[in-house]
Amino acid sequence: MAEILFWFIASLTVLSAAMVVLNNQLLYSAIALLFTLFGVAGLYIYLWADFIAGVQLLVYIGGINVLIIFGIMLTNRISSVRLSQTNIQQGFGGVIALWLLIIISLVISKTPWYQVTSAEPSSTVREVGTLLMTKYLLPFEAISILLLGALIGAALLSREAS
C-alpha cells in the first residue's frame, strides 16, 4: 500500500506542477502550486524527513504560497489576465527540451545513488537540532543574518515607495 500511496503522491506532484506551467490563469497556477508543494511534503515523509515535511507545510504552503496568492490578488487587474501558453519557436524549444530530458535521464541512470540500509530513525528532529547547533552552526547563523538583512531591506524599500 505504501507503494500505491507513493505513486499517488508522485503523480499528484507532477500533474499539479504541469498545471502550474500550463494553466493560462495566474491564480489557478498559484492554487496548483499548493498541491505541488503538498506532494513534495509527502515525498519528504517517504525519505523519513518528517521535520522537513512539516517545515515544507509551514513555510511553503503557509507562507510563500499565501504570499504569491496575496500578491496576485493585490496587483491591479493581474488576476483576470489570460496568459498565452503557446510558444512561437515550438520546434527549437522541443529539441532543447528533448536534449535536456536525455541528459537528465543519463545523469539519473549513471549516478551511483547512496542507498540507505539502516532502519528508520526513531527521532529525526533531535538529530537535526544537534547537527544545526554543532556541525552546521556557522552556516545556520550566516543564513539567519542574511534573512534578517533581507527583512530589513524589504521594510526599507517598501517605506521609500510610499
Binding site: M1, L27, Y28, I31, L34, D50, F51, A53, G54, V55, L57, L58, I61, G62, G63, N65, V66, I69, F70, M73, L74, S79, S123, T124, V125
Partner: protein, 357 residues
C-alpha cells in the same frame, strides 16, 4: 497509536490473513470516521453552549426559555438540531459571477485543514490517532491551510465585502501565527520534544509540574498563546474578517446552505484543536491535577476533554463580553506587544533553563 492498535487487533483476530493492506486501510479509516462523528456531536454541543452562555451573559430572554413556544425542545436543546436541518435543506447558491471551481474548493480546503489537525491531538493516555514525532509542529503546519482557504473563499465570491474579509483574515492569521509559534517554542524548549505525548509526560506529577507553573514567565507565555490562538480562529474580539457591521459577513457573504455550514463547523473544530493544543502544551494534557488522584488511562480522557472544554468555554465567554478590535489595534497588539514580549520570554526561559532548571 490508535491506528497501530486497531491494526494489531485485526491481525490477531484474523491470523490467517494477518498484515494485509486491507486491514491497514480499515485501521486508518475507522479513527477518521469516529473523528467525523465526534466533530458533528461536538458541533451540536458547542453551538448549544454558545447560545446558552451568550444568553446568560447578555440576558437574552428567548434562548433562556422565558415562556412556552420561544425555544425549541426542553431547555432549547433542539435549537442546534433545528439550525442544522435548516442549513442542510437550504438552497446551495453559487453566484453567477463567482469563480466556480475555487468557490467549491474553498470549503473543502478549510475542512481538510481542521480535520487533519485532529489526527495529532492526544485525547487520552492511549488515545491519539497517530503519535507523530513532530506532533505539535504538524498541527501548526496544517493550520496554515486555513489561510489559503479563507483567501480563496473571499476572492472567488467576486464580492467586495468577501474580498475584504479574505484579505483581512489572511493578514490576521499570518501575523498571529508568529506570537503563537514563539510561545510554543518556549514549551518545546522546556519539554525538549515536539511529540505531543512526550510534552504531556514532561508535566507528570500534579498541578505544579504543569508547564504553565514551570517558571515565572510561563503564565505570560500562556496568555500570549491563548489570545493569539483566539485571533487565528477569527472569533470576536478578533472577528474582523467577518465583522457584520462593516463587511456584511466577510468571506462567507456569498456562501449558503451546506457550504456555509462547513465553514461554521470548521471554525468550531479549529476552536477544539487550539484548546486541545493549549491544554497539552500548558495545562498538563491528560494528566490529573493531583498526583495519584484518578490518574488512570480511562480518567485521562476525562481530564483532557474537561480541560479542553474549559478553554472553549473561556473562548465563548470572551466572545460575548469583549467588543471587536479595530484593524490598527489588531496589528499593534500583535507586532508591537506580543512579538517583543514573546521574544523576551524565549530568552528569559532559555536563561532560566540553563541557570536554574
Amino acid at each position: 497509536m490508535t491506528v497501530d492498535f486497531i491494526f494489531d487487533g485485526l491481525n490477531q483476530l484474523f491470523p490467517a490473513v494477518a498484515g494485509n493492506d486491507f486491514f491497514l486501510i480499515i485501521a486508518m479509516l475507522l479513527p477518521v470516521a469516529a473523528l467525523l462523528g465526534f466533530i458533528t456531536i461536538y458541533g451540536f454541543g458547542v453551538i448549544y453552549s454558545e447560545i446558552k452562555v451568550s444568553s446568560f451573559i447578555q440576558d437574552k430572554t428567548g434562548p433562556m426559555g422565558q415562556g412556552p413556544g420561544l425555544h425549541a425542545g426542553k431547555w432549547g436543546l433542539l435549537q442546534p438540531v433545528a439550525d442544522g436541518i435548516k442549513l442542510f435543506i437550504k438552497e446551495d447558491i453559487i453566484p453567477a459571477s463567482a469563480d466556480k471551481p475555487l468557490f467549491i474548493l474553498a470549503p473543502f480546503l478549510i475542512f481538510i485543514g481542521a480535520l487533519t489537525a485532529f489526527i495529532a491531538v492526544p485525547f487520552g493516555e492511549k488515545i491519539i490517532i497517530v503519535d507523530m514525532n513532530i506532533g505539535i509542529f504538524y498541527i501548526i503546519g496544517v493550520g496554515s491551510l486555513a489561510v489559503i482557504a479563507l483567501i480563496l473563499a473571499g476572492w472567488s465570491s467576486n464580492n467586495k465585502w468577501a474580498l475584504f474579509g479574505g484579505m483581512r483574515s489572511a493578514a490576521q492569521i499570518i501575523s498571529y501565527e508568529i506570537p503563537a509559534g514563539i510561545s510554543l517554542v518556549v514549551v518545546i524548549m522546556l519539554a525538549s520534544s515536539l511529540n505531543m505525548q512526550e510534552i504531556i509526560a514532561y508535566q507528570e506529577g500534579g498541578l505544579f509540574n504543569w508547564i504553565i507553573f514551570d517558571n515565572p514567565f510561563m503564565p505570560i507565555v500562556f496568555v500570549i498563546f491563548f489570545i493569539s490562538a483566539l485571533a487565528e480562529t477569527n472569533r470576536t474580539p478578533f472577528d474582523l474578517p467577518e465583522s457584520e457591521s462593516e463587511l456584511v459577513a466577510g468571506f462567507v457573504t456569498e456562501y449558503s446552505g451546506t457550504r456555509y455550514a462547513i465553514f461554521f463547523l470548521s471554525e468550531y473544530a479549529n476552536m477544539f484543536v487550539i484548546s486541545a493544543v493549549a491544554a497539552t502544551a500548558f495545562l498538563g494534557g491528560w494528566q490529573s491535577p493531583f498526583e495519584n488522584f484518578l490518574n488512570t488511562p480511562a480518567w485521562s480522557v476525562f481530564w483532557m476533554i474537561s480541560k479542553t472544554f474549559f478553554l472553549i468555554f473561556v473562548m465563548i465567554w470572551v466572545r460575548w463580553t469583549v467588543p471587536r478590535l479595530r484593524v490598527d489595534q489588531l496589528m499593534h497588539l500583535c507586532w508591537k506587544v506580543f512579538i517583543p514580549i514573546g521574544l523576551f520570554n524565549v530568552f528569559a526561559v532559555a536563561i532560566w533553563i540553563v541557570v536554574i532548571g
